[in-house]
Amino acid sequence: MKFGVVRFPGSCDEVDALMACRRFADADLLWHGDRDLSGVDAVVVPGGFSYGDYLRVGAIARFSPLMESVIEFARDGGPVLGICNGFQVLCEAGLLPGALLPNDSLRFVCRQVDVVVENPGTPFTRACEEDDVLSIPVKHTTGRYYAPPGTLPEEQVVLRYAPGQNPNGSMGDVAGVCNEDGNVMGLMPHPEHAVDPLTGSADGGRLFESLAMVPA
């Protein structure tokens, strides 16, 4: 089982994501200008500021040559995980419902939050049980999730911020969502920064572990 971690100009969490993946399977970086996914079994779109986040977060990255291949991979059922900026890119690409807006506080938030597993039936959460609480950091300015009314069925809510811990004003405390088929997921918290007890929590590893459990 092999992960591919996308590197855009402006990505900054791709190495942490790569190291997180390598705890559970093989993993390599994928360059944004290539079209070849190198036969990986799962794709991680990491955090950062892809293409400078010009225009809107994730808006330009969505048109990179590699993303065209990632979109095709996702439409064929391949698992794709978008973290933070990666979540924004997947929303802009139309692979996930909704969009990310500036935090209601208008401030950058950087803190450890508890998120609750709402749907353990996805390829990203099958190492978890329903209502498991994961301690994972968030760090973003544009993380307020919004989906127009009627566009986000409850079963597509994968993670919610624990009560009282919503850091950005996200609708319904939503922290992570998946697509209708369940093979594409995005979340604002950073599981790749929570894979070792040394940094406070290893809970984020459960997402990578889940993906590694199931060959694509």
């Binding site: 225009l55 809107r56 808006a59 048109f63 802009e92 909704g98 969009a99 807006l101 500036p102 935090n103 209601d104 506080s105 208008l106 307020r144 919004y146 989906a147 127009p148 004003g169």
Partner: protein, 75 residues
């Protein structure tokens, strides 16, 4: 193109500006929204709405308005 946050979606930037104006003595200001302006020269203006739909705006969260300045140097 004038691009605005869609009506009904919380616009904290607009709210912050709305709160700042009275502090300077400008009373009676309501419904402040902050969006963005994109200027471009284009041979075929009929394609502009498509450009907005596909890239320049995100129709889920933003409304856009195309203002055409026919043959005028808008500077």
């Amino acid at each position: 193109m004038l691009i605005r946050p869609k009506e009904g979606i919380l616009d904290p930037q607009g709210q912050a500006v709305e709160r700042a104006l009275p502090a300077l003595g400008f009373d009676g200001v309501q419904n402040v929204h902050v969006g963005r302006l994109i200027e471009l020269d284009v041979d075929d203006a009929s394609k502009v709405p498509q450009m907005c739909e596909r890239l320049l705006a995100n129709p889920l969260i933003e409304d856009y308005e195309v203002v055409e300045l026919n043959g005028k140097d808008s500077s």
